[in-house]
């Protein structure tokens, strides 16, 4: 078994591909340090409030039962708050849920209970012991005793373990290392309307305004990358979009050698949408013949590649 899932994608450093049991690779984004830190803070606040509530309730119950229950619940909360939620909610704690994060298996299988428990037992050393050390250090310091070395130990300890996620490209903390897990951002699917369909170019034959058409040679100037940049431009609706679109329309027109559209917003957009639809039709048709033109520097989509060694 190779750790194929560990290899990052060439494009984005935070993207990881997981091969599903059906054999299709899907791409998931790793959570950022900031996202994970805010999830942790939320969880710690919830835990802290729960501990205070527990202490108050146990005061009212009292007696042998109250004391035993208090000690056991305290133990469970402190040690199994994170693990319990991650088991019950499929890799999510309340904090992770609020920040849309999730723990997953690095190898792409199901998240096992052993992994959840392993990664969360590690919090003791990563978080609670250093916190207690720092805390007891503060108390001893308040009593006027010398605590230099305790602070130093706590500081080094926290420093080394807390910085672990910064020093590896998968942002693994010690618990993730020993459990074989990743913390990823929950993907958010958003489907927007198809530009080629809404564009006047999609049905230009029926409309009188359809006066943009392009030849194959003109459509062979650009590649997939440029097409998708154009898609981004057409999908975004910023305040300065009019200027951006006009500029791009001018550049495209100059590059492919056609008359630029009348420089108002409506005509510019119509020109770009028509060009987008035509360009996409051309590139998709080429793609169905197995010729994918990555960008404008790639070999022209329309021609069969020449092999220089045979040309002689």
């Amino acid at each position: 078994m190779t750790d194929a899932a560990l290899s990052p994608l060439p494009g984005d450093k935070a993207m990881r591909s997981v091969v599903t049991p059906e054999g299709v690779a899907v791409h998931i984004r790793l959570a950022t340090i900031g996202e994970r830190f805010s999830a942790l803070l939320i969880d710690l606040v919830i835990l802290f409030v729960a501990l205070i509530a527990l202490a108050i309730v146990s005061r009212f119950i009292g007696g042998n039962f109250g004391a035993a229950a208090y000690i056991l619940i305290l133990f469970l909360l402190r040690n199994f708050y994170f693990a319990g939620f991650e088991l019950a909610w499929n890799g999510r704690t309340p904090g992770k849920r609020m920040t849309s994060l999730r723990v997953i298996n690095r190898r792409g299988g199901p998240l096992t209970p052993a992994a959840v428990i392993a990664r969360n037992l590690m919090r003791e050393v990563e978080l609670f012991v250093p916190l207690t050390l720092a805390f007891s250090g503060a108390i001893t310091a308040a009593m006027g005793l010398s605590v230099g070395w305790i602070w130093l130990v706590a500081l080094v300890w926290v420093g080394v373990l807390a910085c672990l996620p910064i020093f590896n490209r998968d942002r693994l903390r010690a618990g993730d290392l020993i459990a074989g897990t990743w913390v990823v951002a929950e993907p958010r699917p958003v489907l927007l309307p198809d530009l080629a369909e809404t564009a006047p170019g999609g049905s230009w034959a029926t409309q009188e305004v359809a006066d943009y058409s392009f030849t194959t040679t003109q459509l062979d100037v650009y590649g997939v990358k440029e097409l998708q940049v154009l898609e981004d431009v057409l999908r975004s609706n910023g305040p300065a979009q009019g200027d951006v679109r006009r500029d791009i329309a001018q550049r495209i027109a100059r590059k492919i050698g056609v008359e630029p559209p009348i420089p108002n917003d409506l005509e510019t957009t119509r020109f770009l949408e028509a060009f987008y639809a035509a360009q996409r039709r051309r590139l998709e048709a080429e793609m169905s013949f197995g010729r994918r033109r990555r960008d404008k520097f790639d070999r022209p989509a329309g021609r069969v590649s020449r092999t220089p060694t045979r040309s002689g």
Binding site: L121, P189, G202, S288
Partner: protein, 328 residues
């Protein structure tokens, strides 16, 4: 001229499936997969696979980046909620006891032997030092002393071995003993990440306390009574502390001696096995807490203490040695 793009047509035909999956996954994530009704539950895997195949097709026919990103995100999201912690809690628990735990323990016999030897070394050295110079006693026992020291008379010591007689707080006492010991056990696992050195120290220190107690009671001629006092819970408790220490050592050895495997892979596998062992140790400590907190305070004679303590221990050892052998 064909007016509609192939990719647009593809999208028009399949979009209904995607939207349905999107809704279903959203519902499953908000309130759990269990809350879906039977029809939706059988629909979910079908929709998931159909969408996954849409993704493969879209990668081949479409250049609409928004569409590709959408399908990618939808598949990833559905994948995460379809393949989660899938097994039912009860069957997980059964599998844990039937084979996962005993197999993990048997596979870790080397770290277990090392942890046991280290604890034994701690016991022997504290015993030897304290027998020759009682002034060591305090530094080995520390806060666990509870009025038992070399200034005590044999009668006082005997009294404390008999139990406190304070039977009103037994449950709380057992809970306290359990949570303290389980804390130590889980800590010695986690400390294994620091190359196992703190784990070794912790295991050694656990042995020191025992050795110093042994020396104290031996010097007052109470060795047999002390052995009985210790026997009822000691074998179970010490075994689980050894197991927890061994789990920490297993972690450390995965870091230090990864062998031919990539270190990350080895660590992930051994880390999970070690976590299984620690969970076993914590459960044993719960048993030990009951034996110590309640059994020791209510059973006062030495012979029944011996019998109960060692037969429980024998059952545990037999379980670890024999259970789950048929699996695989």
């Amino acid at each position: 001229m064909a007016l509609e793009l192939k990719s647009t047509q593809f999208r028009r035909e399949r979009e209904g499936t995607w939207r349905e999956l999107e809704k279903l996954v959203e519902r499953a994530e908000k309130s759990g997969v269990e809350t879906l009704d039977g029809a939706s539950l059988t629909r979910l895997p079908t929709l998931y696979r159909a969408t996954l195949s849409s993704l493969s097709v879209a990668r081949a026919v479409s250049l609409d980046r928004n569409l590709l990103n959408y399908l990618e995100a939808l598949c990833a999201r559905a994948y995460l909620s379809v393949y989660g912690v899938r097994e039912r809690p009860l069957s997980l628990l059964l599998a844990f006891f039937a084979w996962r735990l005993p197999i993990a323990v048997r596979a870790a016999w080397r770290p277990i032997a090392i942890a046991a030897l280290v604890m034994l070394a701690g016991t022997l050295s504290a015993w030897w030092l304290t027998v020759h110079d009682p002034s060591y006693y305090g530094s080995f026992v520390g806060e666990m002393e509870q009025g038992r020291n070399f200034q005590s008379t044999p009668e006082q010591l005997h009294q404390s071995l008999q139990g406190t007689g304070n039977s009103g707080q037994l449950g709380a006492f057992a809970a306290y003993l359990f949570s303290r010991n389980a804390g130590i056990g889980m800590l010695s696992f986690a400390l294994g990440f620091m190359l196992g050195i703190p784990t070794l120290i912790l295991t050694f220190v656990n042995g020191l306390t025992l050795g110093a107690f042994l020396a104290l009671h031996q010097s007052k001629g109470l060795l047999l009574e002390f052995a009985g006092w210790l026997s009822i819970h000691g074998p179970t408790e010490l075994t689980s502390l050894v197991l927890a220490g061994a789990a920490g050592l297993k972690l450390a050895s995965a870091i230090l001696f990864a062998g031919r495997e990539p270190r990350l892979t080895r660590l992930a596998r051994d880390g999970r096995d070690a976590a299984v062992i620690v969970m076993g140790a914590v459960l044993l400590l719960f048993l030990a807490g009951l034996l110590e907190g309640i059994g020791r305070q209510t059973i006062l004679d030495t012979l029944p203490r011996f019998l109960i303590g060692w037969s429980v221990w024998g059952a545990i050892v037999a379980y670890f040695c024999l259970a789950g052998r048929a699996h695989r």
